[in-house]
C-alpha cells in the first residue's frame, strides 16, 4: 500500500480488508472503493480497451468511469470506482466485455418497493442536502437519495472549508437537522418517467462481506413525487488529445478526490492540464498530499498538452507540452464540467447550451421539477447551497455558509488538442477524434448519426464523460455552435442495472401468478399431470401408476362414455349479470337470442368481435327474470368481462345492466356419463332435471347450483358449490364412483361430438358460420356485435374454410396442413384417438376440395378422408341417459361439512414466517361478502367504484370469490410497500381506508383495519400465489 497517505481521508485505517485483483492478494481499508484500493496498491492498468486492446486504468471516481471495468465475484461487469471494498472481495480486470458462466444460478434476492412523497431530492451534495433540509422544515414528506454510502456529494472529495471548518462538518450538521426526511444512501436514481415517477436502485448488501440471505441484495425503488428536486451535480469532462487514454491520465476532480477522500496518491509526479479553474484546487490538494506537480497547463494561457508518452507497460510516462516532453505518471485533466442533466432530460426537460460554461444546462422543465446546484451549471458550494435552500422552499430560515474556495474565472472551451488519431473522445468504446471526423466526412451532420457511426456514447457508462465531448468535437469540426449540434437523447437507466433487479421477486413460481381451483390439492395428491391454461393449472390427465398419457386418456374417455366420470370445471369464467336490460344486452353481445330464454333454462351462445370472428362461447343461464349467469372459456374470462364492460360503458350506457365476476366463488364439478344420474341423485340432485336447465339445490346442506348441460354429449351435470366446499364435493363425487378426468379427455369427448374449442378450432379468422353454427346466428335480431361484418363479401365467400371431420389410418399432428393437388386447403385443428370409435379421428378447417387429400407435417404425408364433424351420437340419443334408471333423490343423507379455505396449506407456513414483534400473516376465517351495483347496501360496505360495493349485505353472494389475509405488526407496511404501488403512508391511508390495487401480481382489496393491521382480500384462485409472495416478502423480517 505504498501510495496510501499516513493520515487523512475518510477511510478507516483500523479495518484492513483483504482482497484479490487478477489473483494477486492485496489489502485496503474500510471506506475504500475497489478503485481507490487498486490505486493505493499501485495498480495502474486495470484492464484493456474493447476494440484496440489498449491498457486502461482508473479514470474517474464514480459511476461516470469509462475505463476500470472489472468482474467482481459473480457480477460479470462493474466499474471499480463504484464497488465498495469488502473483506474477501475477488476482482479481475476486463477487456471491455463481461463473460457469463453457463452454469450460473443466482441465489441472491432482489425486490422492489414503492413510496410516495411531496418532495424527492436526488443527490445529497450541498445543493441537494440544503434542498431536503429546507423542504423538511415545511413539514413536507421528503425523500433524499444519494448514490454514495454517505451524504456530502462533491464535498466528500474536497478540502474546502465552510465557515472556517471542514465542509463535511456542515454536511454532518445539516444531516443531523433533517427531520422526517427519509434518506436513502447507496441509492441511484436511474429513470425519470412521466408524472414525477422516479425509479432508483438501492444497493442494500453489495458492500458487505457477509450478505444476509434474507435481505434483498438490491431493491428497485419506485418513487412518486409531488415535486422533484434534481441535485445530481456535474461530471468533469476530458480533452481529446493523442494518448489521452493511458493509465495515469485521470480527471482532475477524480485525482483530487482520491487524495482527499481515500488518502491515496494516484501518482507521484503530476501534470495538470485544464481549461477551467477547478483543476487548480486539484493541483493544490495533490501537492498537499505530497504529489509533485511538474506543471499546470492552462489552455486559457495558450498552452496545451498535445500527446502523452507511454512507459514500457503502456501506462503514462510523460506528456508533450509545446514540443517538449515532461515526465509524469499522473496527468490530471479538466476539460470543463458537464452538468449531470441525464435525469432532467429523461423527464423530457429541454436543454440549452450555455456559452459561459460551455455546457448543456437545463432550460425548460417538463414536469414539476427543479434542478439545483452543479446540475444546472451553478458553480461554488455556497451558491449551490443557496439554490438548494430556495428550491426546498424555506430559504429564509437558513444562513448560507461562507466558503474558502477561490472565486472561479470562466472556463474556456477546449475539445481537442494535437492530432486526431488516438485522441479519444470515448474511452470505453475506443472512439477517436479521427473517427468523428470520418463520420462527418461521410456526410453525417446529426449527433445521433455520429454516435452510431462511431459508437461514441453507446457504452455501459452511457457516455457520461464522452457524450458532450463528442458534441464539442463535432462542433469544432463543423464550425458550428455546440448548441446547434445538440445532444443525443438521454435514455434510462442512468447507470446500468441488472436484469435480476428489474425482475425483482418475479422469478420461479412468482414469475407469473399460478391460479388454482379449490380442488387443486386433491388433484396433486392424485398425481394429476397439469396443463397451463392462461395462469391456471388444470389437470390434463390423471395417470394411474405407470400409465402412459394415451392409456390414461383412453381409460378416462371410456369411463365417461360407459360409466361415470368427473372433471373439475371451476376455471370456466362465470359472470353474474343483472338488470332490467340484460336480455337486450345479451342479444347484442351474443350472435343468438337470449331475451327469449325462459327462467331456469340454459343456452349455448357464441360471441363475435366487431369483425364477425368468433371471440368466445359458453352456456348462459337465465337465473331469474332480470338475472343471467354467463360462462366463458377459461382463457377468456377476464377478456370477456372487459368486453362486456366496454360495450356497456362506451356504446350502451343507457342499458340497465351490471356484471359481477363469480368465477372464484363457485367450484364446479362436471359429472358425466350414462351412470351419472345415479351418482348425482345420491347427492340430492333431482334426477328429472331436463337437458339445458338449471336448479338451485341443497347439496349436503349447502346451497348449490346444478346445470344439466353437457360438453361431451353424455348425460351430464355441472354441480356448483361455493369455493370452500369444492374439494369435499369433488372427493365425494369420486368416492361415489366417478373416474376423474382432465382437459385432454374433455377435448376428446367434445371433439367426438364435433364441438369446437375457441382458440383451437378458431384463430380469429373463423365465423360461427364457418364452424357450421349458423343455427346460433340469429337472423331475426336487429343487430349484434359482428352482424355487419357477417355481410361483408369475404364473409359470404363460398370457398371459406369450414369445420370438417377427418379419418385417417393413424393419428395426425395437430397443426398439420391439409394438401390436395390444388395446394394447401386447410389444417388439422384437433386430433385424437377415440376410445368410443376405437380409431384416430380429427377435426379440421378446410376449403371444399376435390381429389385425394393428405395431412402433411414434418416429413409425414398421411392420406385423410373427409367425414362428418360429428363422430359420436349424431342424433343426441344418449344425452338424457336411460329414463328407466332414474332413481329418486337422496337429499339429506350426506353433509358438505368441511369447508376448506384457499389458504389451508399455508396455515403452518404463515405461523413460522414473520416475527411476532414486527410482522405476522394469518388467514381470516371466511366471511359473508356480497357485491352490489347500485345504491350503497349499507353495513359498512366498501365502495369499489362508481355504484359498486362489496360488503356483508347486498346482491350477489361472492363469499367464496375472495380469501382474506391479515397482516399485522409495525413492519406490515414495510412488507406491503414491496408490492403495492399506492401511497400507504398513514397520513394518506388512514385506519379504515381501503383500496382496490395490486399486491405483487395479484389484484386485491387492501384495507387498513388498525394502526398496524391490514386485511388483504385476494381472489381465491390467486390466494396461493399471494401467500407465496407474502412469505417471500416476510423473509426479511422473520430472521431473528
Amino acid at each position: 500500500m505504498t501510495q496510501r497517505l499516513p493520515i487523512g481521508g475518510r477511510v478507516d485505517r483500523t479495518r484492513t480488508l483483504r482482497f484479490t485483483f487478477d489473483g494477486v492478494a492485496m489489502t485496503g481499508y474500510q471506506g475504500d472503493t475497489l478503485a481507490s484500493a487498486l490505486l493505493a496498491n499501485e495498480v495502474r492498468i486495470v484492464g484493456r480497451s474493447v476494440d484496440l486492446g489498449r491498457p486502461r486504468g482508473v479514470f474517474g471516481i464514480g459511476s461516470e468511469e469509462p475505463n476500470a471495468l472489472v468482474r467482481v465475484g459473480d457480477d460479470p461487469m462493474l466499474t471499480a470506482t463504484t464497488v465498495e471494498l469488502y473483506d474477501g472481495l475477488a476482482a479481475s480486470g476486463l477487456a471491455g466485455k463481461g463473460r457469463l458462466d453457463p452454469g450460473f444460478a443466482d441465489d441472491a434476492r432482489y425486490d422492489k418497493a414503492y413510496l410516495h412523497c411531496d418532495v424527492l431530492v436526488v443527490g445529497g451534495g450541498p445543493a441537494g442536502l440544503a434542498a431536503a433540509l429546507a423542504a423538511s422544515e415545511s413539514g413536507a414528506r421528503v425523500i433524499l437519495l444519494d448514490e454514495q454510502p454517505e451524504l456530502g456529494g462533491s464535498l466528500l472529495g474536497a478540502r474546502e472549508r465552510l465557515d472556517g471548518r471542514p465542509a463535511m462538518d456542515w454536511v454532518a450538521a445539516a444531516e443531523a437537522r433533517l427531520s422526517g426526511v427519509q434518506v436513502f444512501t447507496r441509492t441511484t436514481a436511474v429513470g425519470y418517467y412521466d408524472h414525477n415517477y422516479v425509479v432508483a436502485v438501492e444497493r442494500r448488501t453489495d458492500h458487505l462481506a457477509d450478505r444476509p440471505a434474507h435481505i434483498s441484495r438490491q431493491r428497485l425503488w419506485h418513487f412518486r413525487a409531488g415535486r422533484v428536486i434534481l441535485a445530481t451535480g456535474a461530471h468533469e469532462r476530458s480533452i481529446a488529445f493523442p494518448g489521452n487514454d493511458r493509465p495515469g491520465v485521470m480527471l482532475a476532480s477524480a485525482a483530487r478526490a482520491y487524495v482527499n477522500r481515500y488518502a491515496v496518491r494516484p501518482g507521484t509526479r503530476a501534470v495538470v492540464f485544464t481549461c477551467a479553474d477547478s483543476a487548480f484546487a486539484a493541483g493544490d490538494d495533490l501537492r498537499a498530499a505530497g504529489v509533485e506537480i511538474a506543471t499546470i497547463v492552462d489552455a486559457r494561457r495558450g498552452e496545451t498538452v498535445t500527446r502523452t508518452v507511454a512507459g514500457p507497460d503502456g501506462a503514462l510516462a510523460g506528456v508533450e507540452i509545446g514540443g517538449r516532453i515532461v515526465e509524469c505518471d499522473l496527468l490530471a485533466v479538466c476539460g470543463g464540467w458537464n452538468p449531470t442533466v441525464h435525469l432532467f432530460s429523461q423527464s423530457q426537460g429541454r436543454l440549452r447550451y450555455d456559452q459561459n460554461i460551455h455546457a448543456f444546462v437545463p432550460h425548460l422543465s417538463a414536469q414539476a421539477e427543479q434542478s439545483v446546484g452543479a446540475c444546472r451549471g451553478t458553480y461554488g458550494t455556497a451558491a449551490c447551497i443557496e439554490e438548494g435552500y430556495a428550491a426546498g422552499g424555506s430559504a429564509g430560515n437558513f444562513r448560507i455558509p461562507v466558503s474558502d474556495a477561490r472565486h472561479e474565472q470562466p472556463p474556456a472551451a477546449l475539445w481537442t488538442s494535437g492530432a486526431q488519431e488516438e485522441a479519444f473522445v470515448d474511452l470505453q468504446r475506443d472512439v477517436t477524434v479521427a473517427d468523428v471526423a470520418r463520420s462527418i466526412g461521410a456526410g453525417m451532420r446529426s449527433v445521433e448519426h455520429v454516435k452510431r457511426y462511431t459508437t461514441a456514447g453507446t457504452g455501459a457508462d452511457q457516455g457520461k464523460t464522452s457524450g458532450p465531448g463528442t458534441v464539442g468535437v463535432m462542433s469544432a469540426l463543423l464550425g458550428a455552435d455546440p448548441g446547434a449540434v445538440g445532444t443525443t437523447t438521454y435514455r434510462p437507466p442512468y447507470v446500468p442495472i441488472s436484469i435480476a433487479l428489474l425482475a425483482g421477486r418475479e422469478r420461479g413460481i412468482l414469475s407469473d401468478p399460478i391460479r388454482v381451483t379449490s380442488m387443486h390439492a386433491s388433484h396433486v395428491a392424485r398425481g394429476a399431470v397439469f396443463e397451463d391454461v392462461g395462469q391456471w393449472k388444470r389437470p390434463w390427465y390423471f395417470p394411474l401408476d405407470g400409465e402412459s398419457m394415451d392409456d390414461a386418456v383412453l381409460r378416462e374417455c371410456a369411463a365417461a362414455r360407459t360409466a361415470v366420470a368427473a372433471m373439475d370445471a371451476s376455471t370456466l369464467g362465470k359472470i353474474d349479470i343483472r338488470g332490467a336490460d340484460v336480455g337486450v344486452f345479451l342479444d347484442r353481445i351474443y350472435t343468438n337470442m337470449y331475451s327469449t330464454l325462459a327462467v331456469g333454462a340454459c343456452r349455448y351462445g357464441v360471441m363475435c368481435t366487431a369483425d364477425g370472428m368468433v371471440f368466445d362461447d359458453g352456456v348462459t343461464t337465465r337465473l331469474a327474470e332480470e338475472r343471467y349467469l354467463m360462462t366463458t372459456t377459461t382463457g377468456n374470462a377476464a377478456a370477456v368481462l372487459d368486453w362486456l364492460e366496454e360495450w356497456h360503458q362506451t356504446e350502451w350506457p343507457e342499458l340497465d345492466v351490471s356484471f359481477v365476476s363469480v368465477t372464484d366463488h363457485w367450484a364446479t364439478v362436471a359429472v358425466v356419463g350414462p351412470r351419472s344420474r345415479e351418482l348425482v341423485t345420491s347427492l340430492g340432485v333431482p334426477g328429472d332435471m331436463p337437458f339445458m336447465t338449471y336448479r338451485e339445490v341443497g347439496l349436503g346442506g349447502v346451497a348449490a347450483r346444478v346445470y344439466r348441460i353437457s360438453f361431451s354429449g353424455e348425460l351430464a351435470w355441472e354441480l356448483n358449490v361455493p369455493w370452500a366446499y369444492g374439494r369435499t364435493l369433488w372427493e365425494t363425487v369420486l368416492e361415489r364412483g366417478a373416474v376423474p378426468y382432465g382437459t385432454e379427455t374433455m377435448h376428446v369427448l367434445r371433439a367426438e361430438k364435433g364441438f369446437p374449442i375457441v382458440g383451437q378450432e378458431t384463430d380469429g379468422t373463423v365465423t360461427p358460420q364457418d364452424l357450421g353454427m349458423s343455427w346460433a346466428v340469429s337472423k331475426r335480431k336487429p343487430d349484434y356485435v359482428g352482424k355487419r361484418s357477417h355481410a361483408r363479401p369475404d364473409a359470404m365467400r363460398a370457398d371459406r374454410k369450414r369445420l370438417i371431420g377427418l379419418f385417417s389410418a393413424e393419428r395426425l399432428a395437430e397443426g398439420a396442413q391439409l394438401v390436395t393437388a390444388a395446394g394447401m386447403v386447410g389444417h388439422v385443428t384437433s386430433s385424437y384417438h377415440s376410445a368410443a370409435l376405437d380409431r384416430p379421428f380429427a377435426l379440421a378447417l378446410s376449403r371444399d376440395a376435390h381429389g385425394p387429400m393428405e395431412a402433411v407435417w414434418d416429413t409425414r404425408r398421411v392420406p385423410v378422408e373427409i367425414v362428418s364433424s360429428v363422430f359420436y351420437d349424431p342424433e343426441n340419443l344418449v344425452r338424457d341417459g336411460s329414463p328407466s334408471t332414474w332413481p329418486v333423490s337422496h337429499e339429506g343423507d350426506w353433509l358438505l361439512d368441511r369447508p376448506v379455505s384457499a389458504l389451508d396449506a399455508y396455515r403452518d407456513r404463515f405461523a413460522v414466517a414473520g416475527a411476532d414483534a414486527v410482522v405476522r400473516a394469518r388467514e381470516i376465517p371466511l366471511a359473508i361478502m356480497r357485491e352490489t351495483h347500485g345504491a350503497d347496501p349499507g353495513e359498512d360496505a366498501m365502495r369499489l367504484g362508481p355504484e359498486w360495493w362489496i360488503g356483508p349485505a347486498g346482491d350477489v353472494d361472492v363469499s367464496g370469490q375472495r380469501t382474506i389475509v391479515e397482516l399485522t405488526g409495525p413492519r406490515a407496511r414495510d412488507v406491503l410497500i414491496t408490492g403495492c404501488a399506492l401511497d400507504l403512508d398513514p397520513r394518506v391511508f388512514g385506519v379504515g381506508a381501503y383500496v382496490q390495487t395490486m399486491l405483487g401480481r395479484a389484484q386485491v382489496i387492501l384495507r387498513r383495519v388498525d394502526d398496524d393491521a391490514y386485511h388483504v382480500y385476494v381472489r381465491s384462485s390467486f390466494a396461493g400465489y399471494l401467500a407465496e409472495w407474502l412469505l417471500d416478502a416476510l423473509a426479511e423480517w422473520s430472521h431473528t
Binding site: 443466482d106 415517477y197 446500468p496 380469429g764 397443426g815
Partner: protein, 400 residues
Amino acid sequence: MRHPDFLWRNPSPKSAYDVVIVGGGGHGLATAYYLARNHGITNVAILEKGWLAGGNMARNTTIIRSNYLWDESAAIYEHSLKLWEGLSAELDYDLMFSQRGVLNLAHNLPDVREGRRRASANQQNGIDAEWLDADEVKKFCPILNTSPHVRYPVLGATLQRRAGIAKHDHVAWGYARAADALGVDLIQGCEVTGFEIDGGRVTAVRTSQGRIAAGTVALAAAGHTSVLADKAGIRLPLQSHPLQALVSELLDPVLDCVVMSGAVHVYVSQAHKGELVMGAGIDAYNSYGQRGSFNVIERQMGAALELFPIFSRVRVVRTWAGIVDVAPDASPIIGPTPVEGLYINAGWGTGGFKATPGSGWVYADTIANQRAHPLAEPFSLDRFTTGALIDEHGAAAVAH
C-alpha cells in the same frame, strides 16, 4: 467494421420532384433505391422530419424471418428474405446479415399447435421451417432453461434456420448511399405538414422547408402514418403504440441464435458487438411519444430470466421505444389510396424491419406502375371493407 468514407450529400430540396417519399426510414429508403434501380425513376426526394432513419429503423431489434402463417404474408416476407440474402453484396455494404436461426418457443398446448401449423404451412410455401421438441431446442440453444419445472416450461419451438439479424443502421445507410448515388435527394429535417390536393389528385406537399410539388407522393412514415393520412382526408385503421427494447452491456459470445417467446412476451439475441438485445410486446396504450412505460420492461426482464437464468446479473444499459403502427389484422397496408397519386405503405407494426427490402421493392413497383404489385395486392386498404383480412396475430403475438 469500418463504414464507408462517403455516404450521402446533404442537398437542399428542389421545388418539384416526380416522386416525393415521406419518411426516411428503412422502407422509404429502400423504396427510393428500388425506384431508381429497378424503374429508372431518379427525380425522387425523401423528406425526413428528423435525422435519416432515426425512427423505428434506428430502434428495432433487427430480427429477420419469413415464417409467417398465411400464404400472402409468407410470399412477401420470403421475397424480402431472398433479397436480404444478396443485399450486402448488392449494396456493397456489410449489413452484418447473420442467418443464425430464429426459435419461436411454445410454452403451452395452443402454442404447440400453432407452431406446428405454421411450420407445416411454411414448408408448403417453400419456406424453411422445422418443429423442434424441447430436447432439440435445448441442443440448439443450450443456455435456454428447458426444465419442466419453470413456470411456463418450453414444450418445443419452431426454427427457421435462414432467419436471423442484421445491423439496422448499416441497412439504412447502405440503401441511403446507393439511392443518393443514383440521384435521389435525401432531405433531412424536413417535416411534411400537409398536402395540396386538386380534383382528388395530390399535387404537392407542404413542408417545414416550404412547398414541394410532386407527381406522386408515397407515404412511408410508419408510426405517424395515420396522422399524415388524416391531413389528406384519409382515415386509416391503424393504431400507434410504443414498442420498447433494450440492450445490455457487452458480453463475450453467449447466445448464437435468436430466441422469441410470444407466450411470455420476450425475445433476445446477441448483437455482433456482444450486447444482448431484447424486446417485449407493445405498450398497451396509444401514443406518439417515443418512450414507454417502465413496468413493461420490468415484466419483460422477469420473463427473460425464466428463459435464461444465467442472464441474472447482466446489466441493462439502455432502454428506448419506437412508435409502431398496428393494423387490426397485424398485417401491412400497401397500395393506392382514395387520393390519386397518393400511396401508402404502413401498418408494419412491430415487424417491418425484416420486410425492408421486400417492402421497398413492391412499393417502388406499385408507384412506378400505378397499380399494386402482385405481392402487395392482398394488402390493399379495401380489405378492411371486404373483410379479406390477413390475420397474423398468431405469428405476430410477439411480432418481430
